[in-house]
């Protein structure tokens, strides 16, 4: 086992994928000599060359559209979008072409493209650098949308996403990039399915469903709740499209309560979908409505007040208390 940060784990995963398959190429802004603004691709250009680690012009639609073209030629491009808020120029290419070509071609055209997006807030950034825009992509059929929350998942999920023949949006929690965890770099196969939820902590009173940067927050909340005598189950969704609803319903069958936690605004967000699906399936087992704790329905605020916008341990526990009060 090796202790790695999430950023280093993704780097190791990319390196392993590139060693295994010469068709894997990386495309993005500043990912070469600089190693990316978060250094996720550090040293890769030095080791794999400029053809495979490609510094692109500063045009996200261009990066995305040419990556699709490379995939049509038989490559497996991994695109880095520098920050969540910069993906919108590429939105058209992602939604109109990347997501739809397999369907449009009746399965003849496969697009094994990975779009890596550092996401979320909590780093004191200026505007457009702290967004959680996963619902846009999860709402688009043809895309798969996953989040890593820890170094081991980061290492494996990026490799699994690259191996997938479908386009995958891989969200990386940028404020957790430098948090460390154990990764077994000698393991030969992934410990779990790319699209399966993972029960990280078992509990009996309330289920916390979360993903990305909120996983650590929820685990901390569960530890704190234990002191108050509440047993919380924490599930890392990992994939929001497809959604592993069976793991969620199995948990709710046990606890009878669920709180969904994410940084994105709750209105029409992933939590709304989870709440609807869990309620449809577990109506008679629920002791309380499925509740949501997330961002407010405003543009992401200035960083001096972002801590009040983002769910934290106390807001998660307040959500748990609301659920238990029914």
């Amino acid at each position: 086992m090796t202790k790695l940060t999430i950023a280093k784990a993704i780097n190791a995963g990319l390196r392993r994928a590139m060693e295994r398959d010469p068709k894997v190429v990386l495309c993005g802004e500043d990912i070469g000599t600089l190693g990316g603004v978060f250094r996720v691709t550090e040293h890769l250009q030095k080791d794999f060359g400029e053809d495979r680690v490609r510094d692109t012009p500063l045009a996200e639609s261009g990066i995305m559209g040419t990556a699709i073209g490379l995939a049509l030629r038989g490559y497996r491009p991994v695109v880095e979008i520098q920050f969540d808020g910069f993906v919108y120029p590429a939105f058209d290419q992602i939604v109109s072409q990347l997501a739809k070509l397999h369907h449009r071609s009746q399965g003849r055209v496969k697009l094994p493209v990975v779009v890596r997006i550092p996401m979320g807030g909590g780093i004191g950034a200026v505007e457009h650098h702290s967004e959680s825009n996963e619902a846009y992509f999860a709402h688009t059929a043809g895309l798969k949308v996953v989040f890593c929350s820890n170094p081991e998942d980061a290492y494996w999920m990026v490799q699994q996403a690259i191996e997938s023949d479908d386009p995958v949006i891989l969200y990386e929690p940028k404020r957790r990039y430098h948090e460390k965890g154990e990764v077994d770099l000698d393991a030969q196969s992934a410990p779990r399915d790319l699209f399966g939820a993972h029960v990280l902590r078992e509990g009996t009173d309330v289920t916390l469903a979360c993903y990305g940067p909120m996983v650590k927050t929820c685990l901390d909340a569960a530890t704190a709740a234990e002191d108050e005598g509440h047993s919380l189950e924490v599930i890392d969704l990992r994939s929001i499209s497809p959604l592993d609803i069976d793991t969620l319903t199995a948990s709710v069958a046990k606890t009878g309560r669920m709180v969904v936690v994410h940084e994105a605004a709750t209105f029409l967000g992933v939590g709304a979908e989870v709440a609807a699906q869990v309620t449809e399936r577990c109506f008679y087992q629920l002791e309380a409505p499925v509740l949501r704790v997330g961002g407010y329905n405003v543009p992401y605020p200035a960083s001096k007040v972002e801590e009040d916008y983002l769910p934290d341990l106390d807001r998660v526990l307040a959500g748990v208390d609301r659920s238990l009060a029914y």
């Binding site: 190429v25 053809d51 261009g62 049509l72 030629r73």
Partner: protein, 404 residues
């Protein structure tokens, strides 16, 4: 800078604030001018062959069979296009985007491509599709709503039609970058060296994707030919709403050559495209071709061009017809006789009849097929939705069973 009379004059040398070109003149209408003085033309509208010092050599190895083939291609696709428009009017198609008037532009470049070259069309490239061997019935199936593109792109090296204006140009550029990575340029192996043709119209030149394509292709020196059919109209918007300078002049700003060719002249279009494709395949990078042509019909069958353009303009362009001039040339030069022309007409009628018959016989897809291929690998939500749809349908079957 303009003089008092409103006539544009050349900006003074050294004036950093002068416009490069005069502002658009709202009274300017397509149809007046016939391209720029630099436009490459080899076959005049009257069918006169003019030797071209630079591009003439790209026609040297054409046989009379090839020339008759250019004529046959154009007549057949015009007939297919007319038939498809009729099929739409008869309710067999939801929509049709006619290419009437653009036959030479598409046959000229389509026949300049080699089998290994790859084309990325918009949605009006029926003539290019024909040259790439795509069954016209597949084009009709798309506009009928039977599917969203039924041909195998890899079989024809002809990508699916792209409806979002300009999207395909970036895909084409990426594909060309992949050719570079594969080392399939500049090897001097005519079977191996490969280039890409990206198709788009004058309207698309305003799109970010198209301009980004120019940047990406230029900095990578990608083997791609940007083929813009300037048919003068982007639905109702004339050229001068899209661009302040002639389109082919934009290329130099991006760092590669731009050529304006008479898009109604199949020989000039063939020669220029072949030149630029050979250049790209040999590793010399991208080029931009503006094929100056005219959309004789409506934008699509849903459009009414009488709302925005005058019939006199269409009349002017009728005299520039691409097929008529080639027929005159072939007749006068003795390269084709009346029997040949009669045979082509008969073949066109038979082809149209076949298209009509097969369109009427085309089965609808099964409703459940909508769930196929949303993903290449399983997706739990699609599986759930498919199961729900199936259960809903089966509920009707039960009711019908009870009633029976």
């Amino acid at each position: 800078m303009s003089s008092d009379s409103g006539v544009a004059v050349t900006p003074e040398v050294g004036d950093p604030f002068a416009r490069v070109v005069p502002p658009p003149d709202p009274d300017r209408r397509p149809g007046g001018s016939y391209g720029s003085p630099e436009m490459i033309q080899i076959l005049t509208p009257e069918g006169e062959f003019i030797e071209h010092p630079q591009y003439g050599r790209f026609l040297e190895d054409l046989t009379d069979d090839d020339l008759r083939g250019f004529y046959r291609d154009q007549v057949l696709i015009r007939r297919l296009d007319t038939e498809a428009t009729a099929l739409q009017r008869q309710g067999q198609l939801g929509l049709w985007a006619s290419m009437l008037g653009q036959e030479a532009a598409q046959v000229g470049c389509g026949r300049a491509m080699r089998p290994q070259d790859y084309a990325f069309p918009g949605y009006r490239e029926h003539g290019v599709a024909w040259c790439r061997g795509v069954d016209p019935l597949e084009l009709v199936a798309l506009f009928r709503g039977t599917n969203k593109g039924g041909w195998d792109p890899a079989e024809h090296n002809f990508h699916l039609f792209t409806i979002v204006i300009g999207n395909q140009v970036l895909l084409a550029t990426g594909y060309a970058m992949g050719i570079l990575l594969d080392g399939d340029v500049g090897t001097d192996d005519p079977e191996r060296d490969t280039a890409v043709m990206a198709f788009f119209g004058d309207g698309a030149t305003a799109q970010g994707d198209v301009n980004e394509s120019f940047v990406f292709a230029a900095v990578h020196n990608a083997p791609i030919v940007f083929f813009c059919q300037n048919n003068q109209w982007a639905i109702s918007e004339p050229n001068w709403r899209q661009t302040a300078i002639p389109l082919y002049k934009r290329a130099s700003g991006f760092g590669f050559p731009g050529v304006q060719v008479d898009g109604n002249d199949v020989l000039a279009t063939y020669a220029v495209t072949r030149a630029m494709l050979e250049r790209a395949r040999s590793g010399e990078g991208p080029a931009f071709i503006e094929a100056f042509t005219y959309r004789m019909g409506a934008h699509t069958t849903s459009d009414d061009p009488t709302k925005y353009r005058v019939s006199a303009e269409v009349e002017v362009w009728k005299h520039r017809d691409p097929i008529a001039r080639l027929k005159v040339y072939l007749s006068r030069s003795g390269k084709a006789d009346s029997a040949f022309f009669a045979d082509v007409e008969a073949e066109a009628d038979a082809l149209a009849e076949k298209l009509r018959r097969e369109t009427h016989a085309m089965p609808d897809p099964t409703p459940e097929s909508m769930f196929d291929h949303a993903y290449s690998e399983p997706h739990a939500q699609v599986d759930r939705d498919r199961a729900e749809f199936r259960a809903y349908q089966e509920a009707f079957a039960d009711v019908e069973g009870e009633q029976a």
